[in-house]
């Protein structure tokens, strides 16, 4: 309660010009004295037995002025109170007798009250002010560290710290990282080289409008905090205590250093992951890419040696086999191209509205050469929406899933593509007639370079297809899972796409030509 009052006082002190405040305090003092005098008179009028004892009431206006307006106001209040007491309570009433001895004692007592009260008040005020400032430092530091929490990117930390410090200190604050310091700025250079506060309000370059505070990491200076100020009001000494600024600078430095460490750690982890990926990739490439090349090189070498075989039917079969293998290689490579895009973490892939049927048609076209006598059926629920996805990547997903359905299913099997929409999410199921995926492996098939132990080793593949599918769909906010097949046999892969990748389009109804 007390703190609240003082807090208000401090704010009030900041408002208006000194002259106005002074006049206001005098007027208020007179008003309080008058009120006290009036109450005393009223009490006497209604028959209070000993009017002289009411003199004690005049301690109130003196205390009031001492608390709210300080020593001078309190002394003035004491003086006016003596006059009022004399005028209202001391006989002869309605007459001021200045030289009476009682007035002097009264004056002395009230003045003493004024001096003691205002001294006490000013001490309390000072303590409260210090407490307030301490609290401001603490809450500022807390807010700053709170804001930095969970940010691991240096640029984000810098932005957050700038914003927080600017609002905390109520002046513009910039944070300049060491690597970005402009060497042509003398104050900045001095601050950096000597690791000492520089500029406004300090010993060095005191005429610079800005104040530069070094941000010290554990080993080295990592940047400079730059506080905007004006020459009329030295920043460092008056407006903010040097302690606040130093604490805030230290806090910021810690956060930036932490982010730097995290970033370099992240980088190292990424390098390790990339190395692992590369070695796995190399082993996959050397094995699975060589297989189709065996056929391609074989076909071309026989063509080169005996070109007349192109006219032989059996050999033409061989040539188309070579072409098929080359096209397979092309599909492997496009998988790899996209995987390197996903691995390097492209999160903001460009999306466009596209039809599932369009993507399906393109995927089927790329797979043309390996489609045998499979029976394909596509069923789409009538309200199935437009997709808002990256069509090239989504085509790759469907191509991989359909290619698997073709590879692992029987040559004349049924492949069903079922697209459904429940008003919230959309699902696309690819259902084949093959051997299916055992329940225990339904999750692991999505791992990088995973090959099922169940006799599919004779079927060529990089073990990357499903991993890429999952990566792409997850980048769209969806999922790919192996589910129970609709007809109970074979495998069924389900793509689920969330609401924000779907667009509902209402269209006009037309009558068909007969």
């Amino acid at each position: 309660m007390l703190q609240f009052q003082f807090h208000n006082l401090i704010i009030r002190k900041d408002l208006g010009s000194p002259m106005r405040r002074w006049t206001f305090s005098i007027l208020l003092t007179i008003a309080v004295v008058t009120a006290t005098a009036f109450i005393s008179w009223l009490l006497v009028y209604v028959g209070f037995p000993s009017p002289e004892t009411l003199g004690i009431l005049f301690v109130i206006p003196v205390l009031f002025s001492a608390i709210f307006y300080g020593l001078v106001s309190a002394l003035i209040a004491a003086f006016i109170s003596v006059l009022a007491y004399n005028f209202v309570l001391l006989p002869p009433i309605w007459h001021i007798g200045l030289l009476e001895i009682e007035n002097f004692t009264k004056m002395a007592v009230l003045s003493l009250v004024a001096i003691i009260a205002s001294a006490l008040v000013s001490r309390i005020k000072k303590l409260a002010g210090e407490a307030l400032q301490r609290e401001r430092i603490l809450s500022g530091v807390y807010a700053l560290s709170q804001d930095m929490l969970g940010i691991s990117n240096i640029e984000d930390i810098r932005f957050a710290a700038e914003a927080k410090l600017t609002s905390l200190l109520e002046v513009k604050v910039n944070i300049i990282l060491k690597e970005l310091i402009d060497p042509s700025n003398e104050s900045l250079k001095f601050c950096l080289n000597n690791n000492t506060p520089t500029g406004n309000g300090t010993k060095h370059f005191p005429n610079d409008k800005k104040l530069y505070l070094p941000l010290n990491g554990s080993k080295d200076i990592i940047g400079i905090m730059c506080v905007e100020g004006s020459t009329s009001k030295p920043l460092f000494s008056e407006s903010f205590s040097s302690k606040i600024l130093a604490t805030l600078a230290a806090q910021t430095a810690i956060a930036i250093e932490k982010a730097k460490l995290a970033e370099s750690h992240e980088k190292k982890l990424l390098e390790v992951r990339r190395d692992k990926f590369l070695s796995a990739l190399l082993s996959s490439v050397s094995h699975d890419f060589k297989t189709p090349l065996v056929t391609v090189i074989g076909v071309f070498s026989s063509l080169k040696d005996s070109p007349e075989i192109i006219n032989n039917f059996a050999h033409r079969e061989m040539v188309s086999g070579g072409l098929e293998e080359a096209q397979k290689l092309d599909r492997f490579i496009s998988n790899l191209m996209h995987i390197s895009r996903l691995e390097s973490g492209i999160e903001s892939i460009p999306k466009e509205p596209v039809l599932l049927r369009d993507i399906l048609a393109s995927a089927m076209k790329s797979l043309r050469s390996i489609i045998g006598s499979h029976n394909f059926s596509i069923s789409t629920s009538p309200n199935f929406p437009l997709l808002k996805v990256n069509s090239a990547l989504m085509e790759l997903v469907l191509m991989n899933l359909i290619e698997n359905a073709i590879k692992y299913g029987p040559a004349n099997g049924d492949i069903k593509i079922i697209a459904m929409y429940d008003g919230v999410a959309a699902t696309i199921d690819i259902d084949d007639d093959g051997e299916g995926i055992p329940e225990s492996e339904r999750e692991s098939v999505f791992q990088k370079f995973y090959r099922s132990k169940h006799g599919d080793s004779k079927i060529a593949g990089t073990g990357l297809g499903l991993y890429i599918c999952r990566g792409i769909v997850e980048a769209h906010g969806g999922t790919v899972t192996a589910i129970n097949p609709h007809d109970g046999k074979g495998a069924c892969m389900r793509i689920t796409l969330p609401e924000n990748t779907l667009i509902q389009v209402a269209i006009e109804q037309e009558i068909e030509y007969l």
């Binding site: 072409l323 080359a326 092309d330 496009s334 191209m337 466009e352 509205p353 596209v354 039809l355 599932l356 049927r357 369009d358 993507i359 399906l360 048609a361 393109s362 089927m364 076209k365 043309r368 489609i371 499979h374 029976n375 394909f376 059926s377 596509i378 789409t380 437009l386 069509s391 090239a392 085509e395 593509i417 667009i503 389009v505 269209i507 037309e510 009558i511 068909e512 030509y513 007969l514």
Partner: protein, 232 residues
């Protein structure tokens, strides 16, 4: 037999691809003019006046886009872009600059020849040509508005029919979303292609009964659609 040989300018820096293209096209009775760089290509385009340009986008001296800009200043001759799969954005850009078509590397000879033939051919017009167009198993009687797929009648709505008609009349040619919207819905709709996509979906549902065999409509992401005879 053609009376005059069509001239094809190939602007491609890779010697193996250039050689393969030169031999293949020459064996199909085209006269081939090879160029190794963009600047050489621009020079030859003005002096030789080819009927078609095959343009690689990744050239050593200047960007393929610069070649398109330069040629478009004086000529409307068909330009077919040869692009690699990870150049999606550049492909769309090339189209905006005035390229007519593209083939994605690696491509088959049949696909390339079909593109070249389509770009050399004028569109079938209802007044001059046959009123019946046949594409693979699909037959379209433009006058009677009768569509049959493997002897089975297919019912289409007026807009679906118009869309199919435009695509079929330009068989093999890549038609942009904007062009198709203008032709079927009129100028006011040319920027909003969601209707187009929905109608293409309905059309596919009706004419691509067997998705493994009937691939009449080819989607070219970001650019448009083309109608093609399904490859066997």
């Amino acid at each position: 037999m053609r009376t005059t040989q069509h001239k094809i300018l190939i602007i491609e820096d890779d010697p193996q691809i250039r050689k393969f293209l030169t031999i293949t096209l020459a064996s199909h009775d085209y006269s081939v003019i090879p160029a190794e760089s963009g600047n050489e290509g621009i020079r030859l385009a003005t002096s030789v006046k080819p009927d078609v340009i095959l343009l690689d986008l990744g050239l050593p001296d200047i960007d393929g886009a610069e070649v398109i800009k330069s040629v478009r200043q004086w000529s409307k001759l068909p330009i077919i872009v040869l692009s690699v799969r990870d150049q999606e954005e550049e492909k769309v850009k090339a189209f905006d600059l005035g390229a007519n078509d593209y083939v994605t590397k690696p491509f088959g000879t049949a696909e390339l020849l079909a593109r070249i033939r389509a770009s050399l051919r004028d569109a079938i017009t209802t007044e001059t040509a046959d009123t019946t167009i046949t594409i693979g198993d699909l037959t379209i009687d433009l006058m009677k508005r009768i569509i049959t797929l493997r002897d089975e009648r297919i019912k289409l709505s007026p807009k679906e029919f118009n869309l199919l008609k435009i695509l079929a009349m330009h068989e093999g040619k890549l038609l942009t979303h904007k062009y198709l919207m203008q032709q079927v819905w009129g100028d006011a709709y040319s920027d909003d292609n969601q209707y187009l996509r929905i109608y293409i979906a309905q059309l596919r549902q009706k004419i691509e009964k067997d998705p493994a065999r009937d691939q009449f409509i080819i989607n070219e992401p970001g650019i448009g659609y083309r109608m093609e005879k399904p490859q066997k």
